[in-house]
């Protein structure tokens, strides 16, 4: 034992002596090893943290641990959408059967039905919305209803529309000054202007009660189209059993409003979606300026984007003015004057101009005034909590389906609130999803076939259409018809239960059985122990095959589609970079060691002459390089740990894009140093160092005393 220890001591002493004898060479080799270890430690720490972040985001928002969907589907499941839009999935016709089978699989805690799609939400332009409110009052009045409250609403809504007409007239009057009176559409412009002038007269509003519907039609068809505002928006939603969804996805939380009551229809709108697409643009821009100043340290004076937002806010005042009826407009002006220190007679438009003309010094105060004084008088979101919205989508059966659903609240996912990937998602009740999806039931299909048959329509091949239709002079080209009496009243007979259901749908409470017996597009599986994911995946596959369900099983990462591949992509990039780095390192170390070995031929020869074994010589060189690897590898790992610590102290790596927000599972990534990262980096650098020293060791081993003595130096 003692001779071995002595030999080791001698080897180490020689190694250190050699290393210290050539400090430049040792420094170069050490630096390479150190940088390599540093890259591996920092890279793998960051990647592991990203992996954790993404696992949290995907599993906690939509993915669960496993997902199943119909195996016959044309496309693959992509929970967050793919390059070609939503996944093309065949429906799971009866979710309850899937649930019954999969819940029996060991380690499966929960099976959540889902259907992800996009639909259109008609928001109407500001005019259409104001007129719709007025029409609602008119409908009630014309139906014989009356009362002080209804009269008050009617008067306020009419005053609001009248104010909008005036604002629109002012705006179009300005546009007329620069338009060509002899232009192509001059006649049409003239007619539009006349309609607007008429709607702005006292006489028009005085006579409103004489012909309420007539006046409304005039405003809706001749005046409102001139406002030219956006009239719809798109909503991405997951239709699901809402209670089960909240149990399965702990990151989901309602931030405004409440959850959809158990078994009822409703929607929870994605908070981030509401902020970006539904919020009053001026308010949204104020939020963005505040965020840029507070979080990113930007200044209006230096930043072009912030300056643009300030300019756009000053130009966007019309949107606010259109929202206010005369009473609220006066009240707002009265409150704004003292708050802004404006002269007593300054009109509202000028006051708002003053409010939005923000500088770095005045911004915080103006931001507060907006939210304290202006915002309470406005509708900040086009769709807000408590509204009933109409969602419309082309259904599977080919027809457009529409449903009315109440907005119960705004939804966000904890930790990834600002992510555009998860934050855009809204949650819709399963029954409304099924109505929109419009699965063609056997009953519907039979009705369509019967209608086709009764009409005697024959199918014609496009390529042979002309020959079939005009190929023979059979006298069918012209004929005589007799007038008929068409009674649409009899044709539009709807079943009594259908009439009732339209009104009662919102209040109807569906049983769990009703929720589960029906169509879903995919289902999320939540496991008791996620560490057993692979084993459970196999069990689920077997259960599906045994029951003949014909479903495909994918893990959360695959189900996330492109987003899920992000970590894999990063790993490939890091791995490639590390491989290239170490390949270069290998060559450099190898060269340096070969040179060093050749310089020491005489010394090695002398050692061999006094009886040193070849094995000792090889070991000597390997110990030498291993010492460099270990010392500098440790130093590199320590430096890497320092970098990781530094990143954490400095506030993490900021998520500058939506995707990063999602994969970091928060606004910044805080990498964590793992034992595996340190151990792995040391192993890699030692391996590379030893590999690169093998060839020089081989040269040294072949040196004989005779050759060494023959050398001049």
């Amino acid at each position: 034992m003692a001779p071995r220890r002595d030999a080791a001591r001698v080897l180490l002493r020689i190694a250190f002596r050699n290393l210290l004898a050539s400090p430049v060479r040792t420094g170069i080799l050490g630096a390479i090893v150190l940088v390599g270890a540093l890259i591996v430690v920092v890279g793998s720490s960051v990647l592991d943290s990203i992996d954790r972040g993404m696992r949290t985001s995907i599993q906690g928002s939509l993915g669960g641990h496993l997902q199943v969907y119909e195996a016959r589907s044309e496309g693959a499941l992509e929970l967050y959408g793919g390059l070609r839009g939503e996944s093309l999935l065949e429906p799971i016709e009866d979710f309850s059967k899937v649930k019954a089978v999969l819940e029996q699989v060991p380690n499966v805690k929960q099976v959540v039905p889902m259907g992800i799609d996009q639909a259109m939400v008609a928001t109407g332009n500001a005019f259409d919305l104001a007129l719709e409110r007025l029409r609602g009052d008119v409908r009630r009045l014309e139906a014989g209803e009356d009362g002080p409250e209804l009269r008050r609403d009617y008067a306020a809504h009419a005053a609001h529309v009248r104010r909008m007409v005036q604002l629109l007239r002012d705006e179009i009057a300005q546009a007329r000054e620069i338009s060509d009176p002899e232009g192509r559409e001059a006649a049409e412009r003239k007619s539009e202007w006349e309609a607007l002038q008429r709607a702005a007269t006292d006489a028009f509003w005085r006579d409103l009660d004489r012909d309420r519907y007539g006046s409304l039609e005039f405003l809706e068809n001749r005046v409102a189209p001139l406002a030219m505002d956006t009239a719809f928006t798109f909503l991405r939603y997951v239709g699901t059993d809402v209670d089960a969804f909240f149990r399965a996805f702990p990151l989901a939380e309602v931030v405004k409003g409440e959850r959809i009551p158990t078994g009822q229809r409703g929607v929870l709108v994605g908070k981030q979606y509401a902020e970006e697409w539904l919020k009053l643009k001026n308010a949204r821009r104020l939020d963005q300026i505040k965020d840029a100043r507070d979080r990113r340290g930007k200044r209006i004076a230096d930043d072009e984007e912030l300056q643009r937002w300030v300019r756009e806010n000053r130009a966007g005042i019309r949107e606010i003015l259109l929202q206010l009826d005369p009473i609220r407009a006066d009240a707002l002006a009265q409150e704004l004057r003292p708050a802004l220190g404006a002269p007593a007679a300054e009109p509202l438009e000028a006051l708002l101009g003053r409010l939005f003309a923000a500088t770095d010094e005045s911004f915080d105060g103006q931001y507060r005034i907006f939210y304290d004084v202006v915002a309470p008088k406005l509708r900040l979101y086009q769709i807000d909590v408590g509204d009933t919205i109409t969602i419309k989508a082309p259904s599977k059966s080919g027809y457009f389906s529409s449903v009315n659903v109440k907005v119960y609240g705004f939804l966000q996912f904890k930790g990834i609130e600002r992510s555009g990937i998860a934050g855009m998602m809204s949650v819709l009740d399963l029954m409304s999803f099924r109505d929109l999806y419009g699965y063609l039931t056997a009953e519907k299909a039979a009705e369509i076939r019967a209608l086709q048959k009764s009409m005697g329509a024959r199918e014609i091949d496009r390529e042979r259409a002309e020959a079939e239709l005009f190929g023979a002079a059979d006298g069918a080209l012209v004929g005589e018809a007799r007038v008929a009496e068409i009674d649409e009243g009899a044709l539009v007979k709807r079943r009594e239960e259908e009439r009732a259901s339209a009104a009662d749908l919102a209040a109807h409470v569906y049983s769990q059985e009703e929720l589960e017996h029906g169509v879903a597009l995919n289902a999320a599986l939540i496991l008791d122990d996620p560490r057993l994911l692979r084993r459970t995946e196999g069990d689920v596959r077997k259960a599906i095959a045994d029951a003949g369900l014909g479903l495909k099983v994918v893990d959360w990462q695959e189900a996330a589609g492109l987003v899920g591949q992000f970590v894999t992509l990063l790993r490939v990039v890091l791995f490639t970079a590390v491989v290239i780095f170490f390949a270069i390192a290998l060559v450099i170390i190898n060269n340096a060691m070969v040179m060093a070995t050749l310089q020491r031929v005489k010394e090695i020869g002398t050692m061999r002459a006094i009886g040193t074994q070849r094995r000792f010589v090889v070991t000597m060189l390997l110990v030498e390089i291993a010492t460099v690897g270990l010392v500098f590898g440790l130093a590199g790992a320590a430096l890497g740990a320092g970098v990781v610590w530094g990143i954490r102290v400095a506030g993490g790596i900021p998520a500058v894009t939506d995707l990063l927000y999602f994969v970091f599972s928060g606004p910044a990534l805080f990498p964590r140093l793992g034992a595996l990262a340190v151990g792995g980096s040391l192993a890699v650098v030692l391996l590379v160092a030893i590999l690169s020293a093998l060839y020089p060791a081989l040269i040294a081993m072949r040196v004989t005393p005779v050759e060494a003595m023959a050398t001049e130096d």
Partner: protein
């Protein structure tokens, strides 16, 4: 001299080719006749069947009533079948096209180019013919369409007129002056849609004091999305005057409730 003149006349005739078949006044008359024969001075109500086929999808079929009051430029569609679609409707007033869905009780502003009920039908397919008002005509050729002799005419939209298709090519039956085929083209000349009208019917209109013609069958083929087609059948015509307030939102709402 006479020989030279005869030669020149022959050369001119040959150079003009088939275009000589319809002189400009004759061409104008043909186009005006197409409009005139379909025009009805009074109201118009038709019970129609619409069937849309799309590649890889289930057929979409409707029964609907189409209403027209041409003098006011008003039009309305009320869907009556299938049951789930009954009560839905479109109302056109001036350049506004509104869609009503009784299931949600709301009106939605749609564009003039709306694909009616998600089919390949545009509102204009069921409107009166306004070729003279909207297009300038150019005679192209006389030729055969199947066994029928037809005039082929190219229509180009008049400047400043807003139409769905800037160019339209018609194949007009020489014997009856009914349109048998219609190609609709984009400004670039790209073919967008082809329509065939293999059966025309006439019905006596008391308000017009003459016959009104209508295509009993229309077959529309989408030339962009090959494989998509729509069939429209006009099953019945009712020419009685319509209620004065028919083209209003309130009327359609009342029918759908």
């Amino acid at each position: 001299m006479h020989r030279a003149l005869a030669f020149l006349a022959l050369a001119a005739a040959l150079a003009a080719g088939p275009a000589a078949a319809l002189t400009p006044p004759e061409l104008a008359k043909v186009v005006a006749t197409i409009d005139e024969r379909q025009r009805n001075s009074g109201d118009w109500k038709a019970l129609c069947y619409m069937e849309a086929k799309e590649k890889g999808k289930t057929d979409v079929v409707y029964e609907l009533v189409v209403y027209r009051r041409d003098e006011d430029d008003k039009q309305m569609f009320l869907f009556t079948k299938p049951r789930a679609e009954a009560g839905k409707g479109y109302l056109r007033i001036d350049k506004n096209l509104w869609l009503y869905d009784p299931a949600v009780g709301r009106w939605e502003r749609r564009t003039e180019r709306e694909r009616i009920g998600g089919t390949d039908t545009r509102r204009g397919d069921l409107d009166e013919s306004r070729l003279v008002e909207e297009y300038d005509a150019k005679f192209e050729a006389d030729e055969k369409l199947g066994v029928y002799g037809v005039h082929r005419i190219l229509l180009v939209a008049k400047p400043g007129v807003d139409v769905a298709f800037p160019q339209v090519r018609l194949w007009v039956d020489q014997a009856t002056l009914n349109v048998l085929k219609r190609q609709e083209l984009a400004l670039s000349g790209r073919l967008m849609r082809t329509a065939y009208y293999p059966r025309w019917k006439k019905v006596f209109s008391p308000s017009k004091g003459a016959d009104v013609w209508y295509p009993e069958e229309m077959r529309l083929f989408d030339e962009i999305e090959k494989g998509n087609s729509t069939l429209i059948l006009i099953k019945e015509i009712d020419l009685r005057p319509l209620a004065a307030n028919l083209f209003t939102k309130a009327w359609l709402e009342s029918k759908s409730r």
